[in-house]
Structures are given as C-alpha cells and as structure tokens.
C-alpha cells in the first residue's frame, strides 16, 4: 500500500466516522428518511407485565400506617410538619380525599402490584391494584388538555434514555418520566404532604439476573419547595411475576 493510498484510506475512515452519526436522519441515496420508530417500537427495555413490590425498605412506614407526626427520613419543612400534624384520615374520607396517599408522588411506595402495558404506540399504562390507580406515561409531543384540572396521577411526559445499540450491539437504556399537575397528596399514609407545585421525576431501570429474576428500580425525585427542604429521593423496586394471578384491586383507604 502506498503512502497516497494510505492517506486516502484515512480520509475515507474520517468521513465514515462523521457520517455515521447522521445516517439514520438522512436515509439512503436520496430516499426520504424513514419515520422515527414509535416509542413502543423503540423501547430499549420491556417493562410490560405483572410486577410486585418487594418491601425491604421503610417497612414500618409502608406496610402499616405510621403514627401521626412520624416524618422520619423525609426532608420536611416546618410548613410541611404543620400540615402533617393536622392529618385527620376521617376528615379525608368524609371529603372524598381518601386517595391522597395514592397520587403519583406516593403510589410507587405503596405496597402492591403493577400491571404495565402499552395503551397505544406512545402511551405506557401503569395500573396499580393498591388504590386502583392508572398512570399514563406519554411519549413524544403529547400535551395535556388545556385548563384540565389536576389529577392524582398528574401529567406524565416520558422518554427513553438510550445507551448502546450501535453496530448491532444489544440495546440498553432506561425510562425517564416527569410528572406535574398533580392534586396535592401524601408521600406517606400518615399525611406527610406534597403540594400542587410538586414535580416528580423518575428514572426506571430494568435489571435481569442470571437466575431469571427481573427487577424494576425506580429512582424517584420529588421536588416541592413548599413542603420539602431538599429533593426527596427514594428508589422503590418491583419484581416481575409470571402472570397476573395475584392482582388484587383494592380501593383507596385513608386509614389503612
């Protein structure tokens, strides 16, 4: 090989490196670019199926209703403490507010099962048997309805965060979800509050073990300048089940 051909080879290689980053956007040989895959088709991980929370963390604050005034581990503000100290589950029930601890910022810590499926190509549906709630995680350019009232589960915008996948390698990635527009609710059953201004950010990871176990771990941030002194970070986990036979829909309860 001559020096000239070596230089030509280097030039080709350099062009290939640069062009590789744009191939997917431009299509081939003048053809119109292929439409981007749907969120469902692009999913780097499969979160669908039946999942159960395995309660190894904060057992005493999740499996039973803790005492009034127990806000241990939560970076609560003085105003948050004031509100939590007024917790009255009977009053919540009478006001039709028994689902306060099942809102998006608290529901993933509530012991229960998840049923995850694709509602359509751009909406991942997460149902909970505890409290019989439904979270809709919207991909793409979804916008909430104008003037819609806040809901327990709020408005969730989702995106895949990709890793790998180049050159035929296995795809990896995680799900990022940002939820706003929530009705004020409780981080815990005993009235530890989050406000209407709270923002919930979640990173959903899927881990597969050699023994066949599959785990979803949701690293969860709740930002609430009204009731939290700093971002409240938790990381609940769910283990995959072979079927939905243990699905047990249970209505919201303010006391239990």
């Amino acid at each position: 090989m001559t020096t000239r051909s070596l230089a030509a080879l280097a030039a080709v290689a350099a062009v290939a490196i640069g062009a590789g980053q744009h191939l997917s956007a431009q299509g081939r040989a003048g053809q119109p670019p292929a439409p981007p895959p749907t969120a469902k088709a692009a999913a780097p991980i499969d979160l669908t199926g039946s999942w159960v929370s395995i309660v190894t963390e904060d057992w005493r604050w999740r499996m039973v209703t803790p005492a009034k005034g127990d806000y241990q581990s939560v970076p609560i503000t003085a105003e948050g403490k004031r509100v939590a100290d007024m917790w009255d589950p009977a009053k919540d029930e009478a006001a039709g507010e028994q689902c306060r601890s099942y809102g998006a910022a608290g529901i993933m810590r509530v012991p229960g099962r998840l049923r995850i499926s694709w509602q359509d190509d751009s909406t991942l549906k997460v149902e909970t048997d505890a409290g019989m709630q439904t979270r809709l995680l919207h991909f793409g350019s979804w916008k909430p309805a104008k003037d819609a009232k806040p809901t327990w589960q709020g408005d969730s915008v989702a995106e895949w965060e990709m890793a790998g996948g180049r050159g035929g390698a296995a795809k990896f990635g995680n799900l990022k979800v940002v939820t706003t527009h929530m009705r004020p609710g409780y981080l815990r059953k005993n009235g530890v509050p989050y406000s209407a201004d709270a923002v919930l950010t979640e990173y959903w990871d899927l881990y597969k073990e050699p023994n066949g176990d599959q785990w979803i771990v949701v690293t969860t941030y709740v930002d609430d300048p009204k009731y939290l002194q700093q971002t409240y970070i938790t990381s609940p986990n769910f283990q995959k089940e072979s079927d939905g036979s243990k699905w047990d829909p249970t209505p919201c309860s303010a006391k239990w």
């Binding site: 070596l6 963390e57 057992w59 039973v64 005492a67 581990s73 986990n237």
Partner: protein, 318 residues
C-alpha cells in the same frame, strides 16, 4: 505498510467511544431518605422487618448482644461489604487504569470506618476457586450493561446484614447494579445467602455527586481498647440464650407491630401480608422516637423543626 493500514483501521474502530461506559468517579454524598433510622442511629435491637430470614438466621440474630462489640477482638471487625448499601456513609469511586492504554482495569468503592474497599475488576478475570481466601472486601467482577455497571461479588467473610446482629454468611453472593442518572448514583444491591435467607434480599440506595465532599477513599486505622471492666480477661462473649432475648417485644410495645412481623421472613415482604396485619394493627397515637431525622447536605436532622430525634420509646411521653 499493510501493518500501518491495519493500525489505522483499528484506530478508526476504537475512536468510537467505548460502548456505554459512564464516569462514576468522584465523591458521592449519601441521601438517607430511606431507612434513616437503621442507617443513622441504628435499628431497634430486635427489628428484622422486611428480611427474608430462615429459622437459623432468626435464631442466630436473637442470640446477638450488642455488647459483644465491646470485646477488644471484635471492636475492629468490619461489616460485610454489602454494608455499602446498608450503611450511612458517602462514597468515593475511582478507576484503576492500565498505564499503557488508559483502559479501566477496575473500579473502586471507598472504604468506611467499618467496611473495606470494594474493588470491581473490569478486565474479565474469572472468580477464584470456591475455596479461595474470603476477605472483608470480597472478590468482585463487573461488566457494563448499557449505562449500568453490574458487579457480582463472592468470597467475602461472614458479617451482619443489619447492625443489630442479623447475620450474613461467607456463602453469600452480592450483586450491585450501579446506575448514574445525572448527578445521582443509585446502587441496587441484591444479596443471596443460602445459609440464612430463604430468598434474595434487595435494597436500593442513592447518593448525589458532591465535588466538595472530598470523601476519603480509605479509612482510619482502628485501635481496640478494653473499655468495660467486666469484659477484661474473662473470655466470655455477651449473648442471649435461646428464648431469653429481652428485646423481642420492643417493636410491638413501641410501634404496635406484631412480633411475627418483627421477626421477619419472606412472607412479610409481599403486599398481601398487609391483610394479615390489618385486623391486629392499630397505629400509635403519636410518634415518640426519631420522628423527623433525615440525612442530607443540610445535616442529619431537619433544621428549624422542633421534633423528636431521639427518645426512649415510651408511648405518650411527649
């Protein structure tokens, strides 16, 4: 010349960033928004909530007396390496690199006052023989799965799964999934222990990157000292005989948790166990103990709040 061409093509190939490796390096401060009491002041003496203990694990835990740690020969014992996700400490992570090519050979997780450094080998070396030396740091190999570093550990000494004497054996294995999301590090730890557990035990913890924390990668030396007069020279090991642990009912007295749940077991980890609790549990009327502690950048307890961060657990004393 052909050799040069090969080198050029090889360089082209490796100029693409190494597949999905994330920089984990730096000082990470602990966020104790989960299990603060267990990680900070420590668990209740008999609190096995959420642990999939078998009968042997439970029996051994009940034999444990914290006074055993006063024995000079036990004062400097490290916890098992899975304490990395069970303890309160911040972490420093750093890489060992091959000086000839800069490739990462191993990731390291800093020691703490009571835990050894964890070295995660990234160079594909195999785990040693089952009969090889077991150490306080264990033997760990890692692979990248996307942006997650998955590390599998074997060969670590027996230790404690909880600071109140719940045991873990030297037959246990420990898996870590280390994921970085922005400036948060989440480590999912999964412990399998055929000696003391009936199923896997999982726990997830988070840390936040803080370059100002400057966490020490090593630990200060521990110097044992006979502190208690009645433990000098007698040769006894503080313990409770079967059926004589006086703290078995403490959680029931303070928090109204049935003792069957307090003593753990895989059944207690599932949501349906709540149905068994529903008819026998009545919440305490008021919180009297460790009511508002949390670990964070601002300190171990919530500032500007009047709240109970200690206490004796006597109901209605506030």
């Amino acid at each position: 010349m052909k050799k040069m061409a090969f080198v050029l093509l090889a360089a082209t190939a490796i100029s693409v960033p190494a597949y999905a490796q994330v920089d984990l390096g730096g000082s990470w401060v602990s966020r104790q928004h989960e299990d603060w009491e267990e990680r900070g002041p420590g668990p209740e003496v008999v609190d096995y909530l959420g642990l999939p203990l078998n009968a042997e694990g439970r029996a051994r835990a009940l034999r444990y007396s914290t006074s055993a740690l006063s024995l000079p020969e036990r004062q400097c014992l490290y916890y098992a390496p899975h304490y990395v996700v069970l303890g309160p400490q911040g972490l420093r992570l750093w890489a060992d690199t091959d000086p000839t090519n800069g490739q990462v050979v191993a990731w390291n997780i800093s020691a703490a006052i009571d835990r050894a450094v964890i070295k995660i080998w990234m160079d594909g070396r195999p785990h040693p023989s089952e009969n090889a030396l077991h150490t306080f740091g264990g033997f760990t190999t890692g692979v990248w799965e996307g942006n997650t570093l998955t590390a599998r550990m074997t060969h670590f000494k027996e230790g404690y799964l909880r600071r109140n004497g719940v045991p873990s054996s030297d037959k246990a294995t420990f898996t870590m999934h280390i994921s970085r999301h922005a400036n948060t590090l989440t480590i999912t730890g999964i412990l399998e222990d055929p000696v003391y557990l009936t199923r896997s035990f999982i726990v997830n913890r988070t840390w936040e990157l803080d370059p100002t924390a400057n966490i020490n990668p090593l630990t200060n030396p521990c110097v044992p000292e006979a502190e208690l007069a009645d433990l000098k020279g007698e040769g006894g090991v503080p313990h409770y005989l079967p059926g004589e642990n006086p703290f078995v009912n403490e959680m029931t007295r303070m928090y109204h948790i049935p003792v069957e749940a307090v003593l753990g077991g895989a059944e207690t980890m599932y949501p349906e166990y709540r149905k068994k609790l529903k008819d026998q549990y009545v919440p305490p009327t008021v919180c009297t103990r460790y009511c508002c502690g949390w670990g964070g950048a601002a300190g171990a307890t919530a500032p500007n709040l009047q709240c109970v961060t200690g206490g004796t657990g006597q109901i209605n004393e506030r």
